[in-house]
């Protein structure tokens, strides 16, 4: 009985450590590939520890044996032999660790597990298992074992940038539900071990047992209360305090597991595209038959190192409630309007508001303001961001044809000259190529020039889509991108958009780079979801009378980034405009420009974005599981108590006596130790509320006296216990009876002697 209980406790410790190790998925990816050896290590360590503790093995030997077993698993995984004595396995082992060190030194998190940090992950997990088992069971210090869990949880917190401490844990490093589960596991161990300590330690005879029991129960309750409160605070407080770590000028990816934070608008879109899960970020309900690009921010300033947001003029009148003027669009141009209802995932924090473009009207809560020249919305209110925001917007689609645009001038003079600014040190190749390409295409009007540039990028220029580039969007990097060096002609949307915008500027066409989302995925309920893999950048060029028109120079890739498998060519939202409407447009583009459906996606993409509802479902499932666990923890003492009662009521008079004792303790009545049944009757009798109860108590005392002290005993009438328990309950206030049913003291503060699990003893407290 004791051994099996110890075994379950040992497994509980291992499971808690395993959960904590699961938090490392925030800093490494592919952790699931390491889970089999990690689980094996945990199992070996737990079973070895439990088994050795049953023997007379010296304590200091146990962790050594556990370490040896854990190492054999690590070695088996890395070298295919448990003991790498021979030369080749030794070399393999050395290589694995060197490669892991290299991965840590040169890669930003998340780093891969396979061909990466696997040795460190396994060794770290093994150490955590062994030390936690040593503290919690070999040394019987379960509370101190919490430090091991904290250390394991602290690894992702310290690696992932963001807030430190538990707030950071909940926000950035460790999922709140995981944190709560780990803490729940630890608290359960502490509580159970406290009960165990009482069991094994016993009591002094001359100590007032009732008082002693009360002190002990208070200590257990205090432990649970402190631990529980700390956990709840750790989980709740971060959500109540506005986060301050989102900066105005940015957008990029947060740590790969599902939390996306905008920190720098142009920046590493690649991070979003290649790493981590495809996290649903924005859900849109619209009457637009063809919802497409969603703009987050516009980058207007081009310098040697990057495209950046530039300055904004955002007076209070330009808020997020009401009409928004469309810059540059002729009032004569007919427009079609579509209503958008947008819901942002709570994990998506941005100080820029995603909106359809061109935007005609908006109604969003909070102090969001727009600049009339860029029509992008920036958060002004302190702590304001998009997380969990729901708002509506109206998109205005100009009914323009290619012919209309072809007649339009570039609009120079109608917009700020900064839109044609080029950095002074812009390499000449950019301008030269722009002119060469347009000349070769025989393009004369601004539109023709723009289309020529787009086509050149997409088809004739020999460009390859790849996120495997370290190029940025600055002038120098663009020169390398456009040039003929080893890393030229390869890039992703950031380089294509930046390069086309830069080249357009050299041709005198006002240009900027927009950052946002590519086409969404249509859901079964008719809504559309934009996810982190849909993040995208594209150039926008200004045409007098039409305003800012979007182009799409990025060629489809379809191999790494799913969104580009169905490359939407330029102007998909405005099919009558621009190159896609012209004879030279790519025919396949029009086909694939439709919003993707889930079916298409699974057929065409290697990585399948998770629909928003499934992400939400997952969270709900996790929340429900957590609640169920908490509910089970709360209900467990009562359930254990009821089970004991059922067993005892069918047993002997001694069993019935034990049942009465536990009922008395549950009801908060002092139970004296080491006194005879008759003396006990005197103590208990005054708490019995019914006449039948008094009679039943007499009968029970008589029966238990006979069973203990007479030569022969007589069976107890089951009705006796029914009457007695009823009498005891009726003698107490209803609140006390409810407390006894849900939170029975006899279960929480048991102290039975070893081997006497179901044998009642007088010596209880």
């Amino acid at each position: 009985m004791r051994a099996s209980r110890d075994f379950l406790l040992t497994l509980l410790t291992a499971a808690t450590v395993l959960l904590a190790v699961g938090s490392w998925s925030r800093i490494v990816y592919g952790l699931d590939h390491a889970m089999v050896p990690i689980v094996l290590i945990g199992t070996f360590v737990a079973i070895a520890g439990w088994g050795l503790r049953l023997t007379t093995t010296p304590r200091w030997v146990i962790p050594l044996v556990q370490l040896a077993l854990a190492w054999s698993v690590v070695s088996s995984r890395l070298t295919r032999t448990p003991v790498p004595l021979r030369h080749v396995p030794r070399l393999r082992l050395e290589d694995a660790f060197l490669a892991a060190g290299d991965a840590i030194a040169h890669a930003a998190p998340p780093v891969p597990v396979i061909d990466g940090v696997l040795p460190f992950v396994l060794c770290g997990a093994a150490l955590a298992f062994v030390v936690a088992d040593l503290l919690a069971h070999t040394l019987r210090l379960p509370a101190v074992a919490g430090l091991v869990l904290l250390t394991v949880l602290a690894v992702p917190i310290s690696v992932v940038s963001g807030q430190a401490g538990i707030t950071g844990a909940a926000r950035n490093g460790v999922a709140p539900w995981l944190f709560a589960l780990v803490v729940a596991g630890w608290l359960a161990q502490v509580v159970i071990a406290e009960g165990d300590r009482l069991d094994r330690g016993g009591r002094q005879l001359d100590v007032d047992d009732a008082a002693s029991s009360a002190v002990t129960s208070r200590s257990v309750v205090a432990t649970v209360a402190v631990g529980g409160t700390a956990t709840v605070l750790a989980l709740v407080v971060p959500f109540a305090i506005p986060t301050m770590h989102v900066r105005l000028d940015g957008f990029g990816a947060g740590p790969g597991g599902g939390h996306v934070t905008v920190t720098n608008p142009m920046v590493d879109v690649r991070r979003n595209l290649v790493q981590g899960a495809d996290v649903p970020l924005v859900r849109v309900t619209t009457d637009d038959p063809d919802p497409g690009y969603l703009r987050i921010a516009v980058l207007t300033r081009f310098n040697a190192t990057q495209w950046s947001a530039g300055d904004r003029s955002i007076p209070k009148s330009q808020g997020s409630h009401g009409e928004v003027p469309i810059a540059g669009l002729s009032p004569k141009t007919p427009v079609a309007t579509y209503n958008y209802s947008i819901a942002i995932n709570p994990d998506f924090e941005s100080r820029w508001l995603p909106t359809p473009a061109p935007i005609k009207a908006i109604d969003a809560a909070g102090d969001w303001r727009y600049d009339t020249s860029t029509d992008d919305f920036v958060a002004v209110g302190k702590g304001l961001n998009t997380a969990g925001l729901t708002y509506t917007a109206v998109r205005s689609e100009p009914d323009l044809t290619a012919a209309d645009l072809d007649d339009m001038s570039s609009g120079v003079g109608q917009v700020a000259s900064s839109y044609t600014d080029q950095p002074p040190n812009l390499p000449a190749i950019v301008s030269q190529l722009a002119h060469k390409v347009t000349r070769d295409a025989d393009a004369s009007t601004p539109l023709e020039q723009a289309v020529a540039l787009q086509d050149w990028f997409r088809e004739s220029g020999g460009f390859t889509y790849s996120t495997a580039t370290d190029l940025g969007s600055g002038a120098t990097d663009l020169a390398r991108f456009l040039g003929s060096g080893p890393d030229s002609k390869t890039g992703y949307c950031q380089q294509f958009a930046a390069a086309m915008a830069a080249m357009a500027r050299t041709l005198g066409i006002p240009a900027r780079v927009a950052v946002g989302f590519l086409s969404p995925t249509e859901q079964s309920d008719g809504t559309y979801v934009y996810s982190s893999h849909d993040m995208h950048a594209w150039p926008e060029l200004y045409f007098a009378g039409a305003g800012w028109i979007r182009f799409e120079p990025t060629p489809a890739s379809g191999t790494v980034v799913p969104g580009y498998a169905h490359d939407p060519t330029s102007l998909t939202q405005q099919p009558s405009i621009g190159p896609s409407a012209s004879a030279s447009a790519q025919p396949q583009a029009a086909q694939t420009a439709k919003p993707r459906t889930n079916a298409q996606q699974s057929a065409g993409d290697k990585s399948i974005p998770i629909p928003l509802e499934s992400h939400h479902t997952w969270r709900w499932v996790a929340l429900a599981a957590l609640l169920a666990l908490l509910g089970a923890l709360v209900a467990m003492p009562g359930a254990v108590r009821r089970r004991r009662r059922r067993t005892r009521l069918n047993g002997t008079a001694e069993d019935a006596w034990a049942e009465m004792r536990d009922t008395v303790i549950d009801l908060g009545i002092a139970w004296a130790d080491g006194i005879s049944p008759r003396a006990t009757r005197q103590l208990v009798d005054r708490y019995v509320g019914t006449h039948e109860g008094h009679l039943a108590l007499d009968q029970l005392v008589d029966a238990v006296e006979r069973e203990r002290y007479a030569a022969s005993s007589t069976p107890l009438d089951p009705q006796v216990m029914t009457d007695l328990l009823e009498g005891l309950k009726l003698g107490q206030p209803a609140a006390t009876v409810r407390h006894a049913a849900w939170w029975p003291r006899s279960v929480l503060h048991r102290h039975r002697g070893p081997g006497a699990a179901d044998r009642p003893m007088d010596r209880v407290g």
């Binding site: 080491g674 005879s676 006979r706 002290y709 030569a711 022969s712 044998r759 007088d762």
Partner: protein
């Protein structure tokens, strides 16, 4: 092994009659009467210690009268000789042989009044008979008839003209009780009752020696479980270990305690002994055998107090 319920009914019936009879004389002292019956049925001897005039002799006499058996009373005085107690061989001129004349001890119930007024030599003569239930005079041994109950009374030792009963001799008494002053109501009733005649004179025997012997046989059949034995030994052992006692209880005390508990159980209609029987009898059975340590005595402690705290500390075994 266990006692048939019919036997227990006999015990209850007979003891009830005796108690009723005795309580006609000693009113309001049922616990003392009960202890007396316990000692009678457990084949022990009773020491009644109290100040003069509370009814020590009355109790002894009432019990003796209630049982149709031989009763002798010996008034212990400083000049009482051992031969007065045991008997003496005298030369018969007619038969020309020594003839044994039994002393006061030859009876079923012997009332030894004010035993501590006799010389230690005489006291020890009585106590030897009590233990061995036989008398040896001039190399000839005479068995004492069963039941044999000595009810000795003594004044508290600090009273004038008394000899302290040695520990070894006190140990031979199964129990010591104090009668104490009667409750007010009982004392007033006594005035009325004793105004005309001594109620002792009207007392008729309600049983006889043969029946008492039968009851003693029934009591010896009462079951003592192992936990109860352990409890009794635990209490006695605790007296030996206590720092407040310079002399703990003897193994004879353990035997007396268990035998007394068996009688108490039978008197209450039970065929098995409860720990409660042991703890209830621990004070009358053990107190007179224990000696306080000097420190405890200086601290004003009483033996009964020490024993009570020991009883609170020894746990009652359940199995």
């Amino acid at each position: 092994m266990s006692t048939p319920s019919a036997d227990l009914e006999t015990v209850a019936r007979v003891s009830g009659r005796i108690r009723g009879n005795v309580e006609r004389v000693i009113e309001g002292k049922s616990d003392v009467v009960f202890s007396t019956l316990v000692v009678l049925l457990a084949e022990g001897h009773l020491l009644i210690e109290d100040v003069p005039g509370v009814g020590k002799t009355q109790l002894a006499k009432a019990l003796a009268r209630s049982i149709d058996c031989t009763v002798r009373r010996i008034q212990f005085t400083p000049d009482l000789l051992p031969s007065d107690v045991t008997g003496v061989s005298v030369f018969n001129q007619n038969t020309r042989e020594f003839e044994f004349r039994p002393g006061g001890v030859f009876a079923n119930i012997v009332v030894g009044d004010e035993i501590n007024r006799a010389s230690p030599k005489t006291q020890s003569a009585l106590l030897e008979c009590m233990e061995e239930r036989q008398v040896t005079v001039d190399t000839k041994t005479y068995q004492l008839e069963s039941p044999f109950l000595v009810i000795a009374t003594q004044n508290p030792i600090e009273m004038e003209g008394t000899y302290v009963l040695p520990e070894a001799q006190r140990d031979r008494f199964m129990a010591r009780v104090s009668i104490g002053y009667p409750p007010t109501a009982a004392e007033m009733a006594m005035i009325t009752a004793h105004a005309g005649a001594n109620p002792l004179d009207d007392l008729e025997p309600v049983t006889d020696a043969a029946e008492i012997r039968k009851l003693v046989g029934i009591v010896s059949q009462v079951h003592v479980s192992e936990p109860v034995q352990r409890y009794a030994v635990g209490i006695v052992t605790a007296t030996r270990a206590s720092s407040e006692l310079s002399l703990g209880a003897s193994p004879r005390a353990t035997l007396h305690l268990v035998r007394a508990a068996k009688a108490a159980a039978a008197l209450q209609g039970r065929d098995f002994v409860l720990p409660d029987d042991i703890s209830a009898l621990a004070l009358p059975v053990l107190t007179h055998r224990l000696l306080l340590s000097a420190e405890a005595a200086l601290g004003g402690r009483q033996v009964a107090d020490v024993l009570r705290s020991l009883l609170g500390a020894v746990p009652v075994p359940s199995a």
